[in-house]
Symmetry: C2
Subunit: 362 residues, 2 copies
């Protein structure tokens, strides 16, 4: 721990704590000071065993309960955008990471400090590098070096979900579709084959494609298939011999990675197109039929919604652990310069989770 470390007062109310977290910048890769402060604050709590892995901090109770709940939040934020320090304006707390997701981290830290005898055992995970490439993700690092620390019957990811339950998440597939042609001078274009012209059929196929709506546990996962980039061009007087279309597919969590890939390859058969799948990560089923999830949803009194983006709940799904998103803040505001978190949502999330963790389990 840094000797110049900031201190976090976990007895402060959740709004003050969120502000303190926002005012301690922690862009991805620069989480050390915040991790130091979180580790130091948790280390003062006798009911928790604290471990540090890189710039991630894991704190656990060990009360011998039959059920274990994991509560997780990432410490990092996207880069600042003139939105520091924090600013409280009426009921809204503005500032970098206020929404994504220092509000959720503050709620989790408050639970750690104020619920010393929960009715289920708890594992808190505060982790690094969620906003950057997957290999650097703190949860992934813990899963690699100390997987047993992530064992749980249910994981609650405190990603912004408007203080509602967002269950499961969609999968993501990225692919490059390359259309080839033959270069020629535009004054003699008939000697070549224009790859950009040929790409028109690919884009038209995407325009004509109707994404499916898949219902799971009563939740509708609306899929998507989009060209997110198109690149062609050699010079102003040259017929381009290559056009690359990057597509982003969001697929329902009921599809496996392989099924998602087959879906795209069926649309763009390899005898016509070169399809290079550059990334495919499956989603996470909502798991509303699992006991632990159903019980929490009941207590929170929230009607679950489907999570359409991809979040780290999918990492838990891959470990066989049901997981859901539940945190303060509107997910649409994430990564915007004007992001904020409503004070009422901070308090509601803290209050409801506290109540649930003190209520008799099962």
């Amino acid at each position: 721990m840094s000797t110049l470390g900031h201190t976090l007062d976990l007895t402060a109310d959740v709004v003050a704590l969120t502000r303190a977290l926002v005012d301690l910048p922690s862009e991805s890769g620069e989480e050390a000071r915040l991790a130091d402060a979180v580790e130091a604050a948790l280390a003062t709590l006798p009911h928790l065993t604290v471990e540090r892995i890189g710039n991630s901090v894991v704190a656990r109770t060990d009360l011998g309960h039959p059920e274990r709940i994991l509560i997780a939040g990432h410490l990092d934020t996207v880069p600042a955008a003139g939105n520091l320090p924090s600013l409280l304006r009426g009921d809204l707390l503005y500032g970098l990471g206020a929404c994504d997701m220092k509000g959720g981290v503050a709620v989790a830290l408050r639970l750690a400090a104020t619920v010393p005898e929960p009715t289920r055992d708890l594992t808190y995970v505060f982790y690094e590098c969620e906003e950057v490439e997957g290999e650097r993700n703190g949860l992934g690092r813990i899963a690699a070096v100390r997987p047993e620390l992530l064992n749980a019957d249910l994981a609650i990811l405190m990603e912004p979900s408007d203080a509602g339950v967002e269950a499961g998440c969609q999968g993501v597939l990225m692919a490059d579709i390359t259309v080839r042609g033959e270069r020629a001078h535009t004054a003699r274009a008939w000697r070549g084959v224009n790859a950009a012209h040929r790409a028109g059929a690919v884009l038209q196929r995407l325009a004509d494609h109707t994404p499916e709506r898949v219902v799971i546990d009563g939740l509708e996962y609306r899929e998507g298939l989009n060209a997110v980039a198109v690149r062609a061009g050699v010079a102003g007087n040259v017929v381009p011999d290559e056009c690359v279309i990057t597509i982003n597919s969001r697929f329902a969590p009921s599809r496996s990675a392989a099924e998602a890939e087959t879906y795209v390859r069926d649309l763009f058969p390899e005898d016509e197109y070169e399809v290079d799948v550059t990334e495919v990560v499956p989603g996470a089923l909502p798991g509303l039929d699992r006991h632990a999830v159903a019980s929490l949803v009941r207590v929170l009194g929230a009607t679950p919604r489907p999570k359409l983006g991809w979040t780290d709940v999918a990492r838990f799904a891959a470990l066989g652990t049901p997981a859901l998103n539940y945190g303060p803040g509107d997910p649409v505001l994430a990564h915007t310069a004007g992001e904020y978190v409503p004070v009422a949502q901070l308090r509601a999330c803290e209050e409801r989770l506290t109540r649930w963790l003190r209520r008799a389990g099962r």
Copy 2:
């Protein structure tokens, strides 16, 4: 003139002279040394009046003939591509600019030196900056400051045309077609409008379009309409709100600039698309029906072909002067690292033009 100037021996044969020109590098903007050498060599010829305008050199006879022929070649080349110094291999002379167009310049310099009493008055123009943006073009600069120097009954541009006559040239139009949409996160793509998908219709329309073939004076000008660049993309998880397609139109010299623009705008009506015409330069009619052109073509014994690219003949057309391309070298080799000029073509061009210039006019 530079005191360190290179000298050009105009009594040397056309192959040696071409090599000397190639070995005096003159990338666009760096023509001063070559212009110095050309000016100095022409200044020794008593039958010529020499003027320097920037790094362009104009040399004229004034014999009182009723007809004046202008013979022009640009001094500059594209940047070197490991193709210096010159290399004679069998009948082919390799090196930067050998084809485009120091071979043609060498032929013109030989005519200037060896035909002191032509049967028509002659204006030789050796000019700068043909290979770069139009505003820097040496011919354009002369037209702006000393337009009378370009007066002629016929202009012969010694651009590579395989020692054949390439008559007229096509016009060029460049335009950006912008297709708009609405940005959205790909997880909620239905909230947006994908501009790349909408661009599919533009590319499809280009793919379906059949360019016209326009016959003028018996020559077929085959038009072209091509997407030369396509650009769309905000981020991997964002539905793009803009797709820009750059198109290059090659149009027959019988169309005016305004007609060429109307043609494109009719294909992409403004209630559907934003069309920004960024450049439009009309072509040049072949003018085979003009007396001066017909006479030269007859003497050269070449069957005229249509010029499909755009060349500076269009600048003469704009001045009302018929013009054609006639020079050694395969135009397809222009701007390639392996460009060369056949020795036989150098000699053929010199010999035929010399004969014509010594033959009784009219």
